[in-house]
């Protein structure tokens, strides 16, 4: 089983990229995590190009199609998701409803340097994903105080959060193998 990881931040050393990579240690056997890393290469969504998307967008679509599930780690900008991430999801939602996100299991996690671990951004991401026809797992993973959240080896310091992350990934895998009908 393949999970496609998408970090919502373009910053190389981003906390959310680290959060995504921290999932690598928590995967059940037989599950691989592949990071998609061209958020910066996706142009602004343009309905005029909807039926003939640019190559970078088509590559993004193929990466989604090739994956059984998505894991999105989003930062929070002004209580919402970063424009680049929303833009990429908007592309992926077209043409609706027969888009690459249709029925795709997705888990959303988030890290922020404040207390609240991007909870509002995670909710926004799940809302957009649900509207696009994807199947977002309802559980959130708020990783607050991100400057102090990671150990040197990239794992999360907090065992409770680690357990919650493990459970969330297990839920995501279950959504692939035995989807809950909605």
């Amino acid at each position: 089983m393949r999970i496609l990881g998408i970090a919502g931040s373009l910053r190389r050393g981003s906390h959310n990229r680290r959060l995504l990579q921290a999932a690598s240690d928590l995967l059940p056997s037989g599950v691989e995590l592949v990071e998609w890393d061209n958020l910066a290469g996706i142009p602004a969504f343009d309905e005029d190009l909807e039926n003939d998307p640019p190559e970078s967008v088509l590559e993004f679509f193929r990466a989604i199609v090739d994956a059984d599930a998505l894991l999105i780690a989003t930062p929070e900008y002004n209580a919402s998701i970063p424009g680049a991430l929303k833009n990429a999801l908007d592309w992926a939602s077209r043409p609706f409803p027969e888009n690459v996100l249709k029925n795709k299991p997705v888990a959303v996690v988030g890290a922020s340097t404040g207390l609240f671990g991007a909870v509002w951004a995670q909710a926004e991401a799940r809302k957009a994903l649900k509207a696009s026809g994807a199947h977002p797992v309802e559980t959130e993973l708020p990783v607050g105080m991100a400057d102090y959240a990671f150990a040197e080896d990239g794992t999360l310091n907090d065992p409770e959060l680690t357990q919650r992350y493990t459970d969330l990934i297990a839920d995501l895998v279950r959504e692939v193998t035995a989807p809950v009908e909605v």
Partner: protein, 178 residues
């Protein structure tokens, strides 16, 4: 008529290294955020406690925008206008073995309201350095919004991001003044 010397007679100054003012508040419904104001001055003079803490000494140092909001925000401390949190006692009762109840006026920003705190009082005794030292521990719960610390945000899952109830704890190591 003979009088017994009050256990609270004398003047004591808080030893800043061993004294602090701490707060704890729940966020996201379950997690507990703890912090301190470390720059504390306090005196206990014949049973009257007066203390102040510098808001700027709050233990929230990073991230920068978090600190800036807590210190400067109108819905937080506005430390540029109100740099100190102060407390002046109006009653100080040793209610039992080491048990103490202190009432007084707590001022945060431009609001002064009465509070009652309970805790423990360790009576003055000689320390290892030739001083006479006492210890006062007090705890109370306040509703921060009554003092104008009103910031909040609705959580996406319902409920509020930050609880209104804040537990305040003070630890004062009190050294008797000659």
């Amino acid at each position: 008529m003979s009088t017994t010397a009050s256990p609270l007679a004398g003047t004591f100054n808080a030893d800043p290294v061993h004294s602090n003012f701490a707060f704890a508040v729940r966020y996201q419904g379950v997690s507990l955020f703890k912090g301190t104001l470390d720059a504390v001055e306090a005196t206990l003079t014949d049973g009257k406690l007066e203390g102040k803490a510098q808001v700027e000494s709050i233990s929230i140092r990073t991230p920068e925008q978090f600190r800036a909001h807590v210190l400067g925000g109108e819905d937080f401390f506005q430390a540029d206008k109100f740099p100190e949190v102060t407390f002046v006692s109006t009653g100080f009762d040793v209610t039992g073995d080491n048990a103490v109840e202190v009432t007084g006026d707590l001022t945060i920003k431009d609001t002064t309201k009465p509070v009652t705190a309970k805790g423990t009082w360790v009576a003055p005794a000689p320390d290892a350095f030739g001083n006479t030292r006492a210890h006062l521990n007090l705890e109370t719960v306040i509703d921060r919004t009554e003092w104008g610390l009103t910031w909040n945000a609705p959580l996406p899952s319902g409920g509020k991001a930050l609880a209104n109830e804040v537990t305040l704890t003070i630890e004062l190591a009190l050294v008797e003044q000659a």
